[in-house]
């Protein structure tokens, strides 16, 4: 019951979805439509599970005083602040438990939840990912070395695309006559993206697609069971 029923569920819904693709009429179409509705709701609960699990893990880290445990208090406080603001005063379009928070909007310009999102979260998120600009520059210096034919191809393609996909490319080779327009850097970059890049990416896409199809079949047929966990 602990393993067999979940395997049967996965088999039944997987087959149902595939059959409904070929016979989209009743009962298959209706059943799949209902299933898609259910999926969305369960996915919502899965998100809630994710957040609760995050908090559980952090609470345990604090409880056992793991390295850097003090910082995890900040995580929990930040989470609590966002949830309290959201549930009590709502979001820009929704009222919360304490109402629409009109007076708060008048005094601070927006709901507390939106204020946190606009003035704290957005900046943190954008800054965190913009850090990668520095690291990619550093990686270019350290790792982008032409040692073999393969690495030379990688290097040349990267340089041409980097030049061609900016205004600098247009500026550097804009003077070329029409007969040599294919050497114009933006055109070269477009050529690389349209043909050799697409060929490589398409090969990856086809092979990854076949891999996903294989994995899906393994799941539906109950060969792949790792999602059920232990026991």
């Amino acid at each position: 019951m602990k393993r067999r029923i979940p395997l049967l569920i996965a088999f039944f819904v997987g087959i149902l979805v595939i059959v409904a693709e070929f016979i989209p009429h009743k009962p298959f179409g209706t059943l799949t439509g209902g299933l898609e509705d259910w999926f969305m709701i369960i996915a919502g609960f899965a998100i809630i599970l994710g957040q609760m699990n995050l908090i559980k893990v952090h609470v345990l880290k604090i409880k056992h005083k793991l390295p850097n445990w003090q910082y995890f208090i900040v995580t929990i406080v930040s989470f609590a602040v966002m949830v309290i603001f959201g549930l009590f005063w709502g979001t820009e379009d929704n009222a919360g438990i304490l109402g629409a928070g009109t007076s708060l909007v008048q005094s601070i310009g927006s709901k507390p939840f939106d204020y946190m999102f606009n003035n704290v979260y957005q900046h943190l998120s954008a800054s965190m990912f913009s850090l990668l600009a520095f690291f990619i520059a550093s990686a270019a210096y350290r790792a982008f070395i032409g040692r073999t034919t393969e690495s030379n191809l990688l290097l040349i393609a990267a340089v041409l695309v980097m030049l061609g996909r900016t205004s600098l490319g247009s500026f550097l080779t804009g003077w070329l006559p029409d007969a040599l327009s294919f050497l114009h850097l933006p055109n070269l970059a477009e050529f690389i993206m349209k043909y050799p890049n697409t060929a490589g990416q398409r090969a990856i896409m086809i092979c990854a697609g076949l891999g996903i199809i294989g994995s899906s079949l393994r799941i539906i047929l109950g060969i792949e069971r790792s999602y059920l966990g232990g026991e």
Partner: protein
């Protein structure tokens, strides 16, 4: 004198910071050329009859805002100028807030546009590809109400809209999964709805195979450069264009780093061979 790896790294960081900051302050005015894929998107957005319904999906979060927000703004403004009816969805929760932000700014610029009539923000739904598949059969079931809670039946913009096939085209601003790939798979390949979009530059190369003779994807705006191209085509120069000089100089610096790294490597190798 040999620099320590730590100091080398810090020097590189400082150079890239200065290389991006200076052109933002002192504009160079480098030219911007439009590419084939951007032109395709522009022609599609401008080629529909007045009053057409289009679906814009905000599938990104603030981490990709500098790349995708200028795109979203340029495309949405263009669509409003063409008097289309814009229905917005989001497969990423923060996409819903960024959509609200886009239309807040557009409303300041075009006070005549009305929420629920000219545009509507239906908000976020989880489920990715499964949710899109459901929208293909019944969008009203997925979105019983818009973001502010107005029932979908009471929104004038949704009159006559039942599923994805009622839209002239679907446009995804995509930072990853779920995003443009899932829209191609369901909206175009299952429901035969024209699908186009804008993606972060990181994900754009992997999306390009969908631009083919079957037009699985109808053009693509890839990264900030494409947003700048779109701004130029639509005649509204904005924030994406203002970043292009900095982008060019930063690329030049990275290329210089690659060159210096290679020269160093080959010099060291030559020296070692000599020994």
């Amino acid at each position: 004198m040999k620099m320590s790896p730590e100091n080398t790294r810090r020097t590189l960081f400082t150079l890239i910071l200065i290389g991006v900051a200076l052109p933002l302050i002192f504009k160079l005015g480098l030219p911007i050329e439009s590419s084939e894929n951007v032109q395709m998107v522009y022609d599609l957005v401008n080629g529909q009859p007045e009053g057409s319904h289009i679906l814009l999906s905000f599938d990104y979060d603030p981490a990709s805002k500098p790349e995708l927000h200028p795109m979203a703004y340029a495309v949405a403004r263009n669509a409003l100028e063409r008097k289309y009816k814009i229905v917005c969805t989001a497969l990423w929760p923060m996409g819903a807030s960024l959509c609200a932000d886009t239309f807040k700014r557009l409303k300041e610029e075009m006070p005549g546009i009305e929420d629920g009539v000219d545009y509507v923000n239906l908000g976020f739904k989880a489920g990715g590809i499964v949710t899109i598949q459901k929208m293909g059969s019944d969008i009203r079931d997925v979105y019983p109400a818009d973001m502010s809670g107005t029932p979908i039946g009471e929104l004038p913009i949704m009159d006559g809209i039942r599923n994805l096939t009622d839209f002239a085209f679907v446009y995804s601003f995509s930072a990853g999964a779920p995003g443009i790939k899932e829209w191609v798979m369901v909206a175009h390949d299952k429901n035969k709805v024209i699908t186009t979009g804008g993606a972060t530059a990181v994900s754009a190369p992997a999306i390009l195979p969908y631009i083919n003779e079957q037009k699985q994807l109808h053009g693509l705006l890839g990264g900030l450069k494409a947003a700048a191209e779109y701004e130029k085509l639509s005649g509204h120069i904005d924030i994406a264009t203002s970043g292009m000089d900095a982008q060019s100089i930063a690329h030049l610096i990275i290329i210089l780093f690659i060159a210096v790294g290679n020269i160093q490597y080959h010099l060291i190798r030559k020296r070692k061979r000599g020994e």
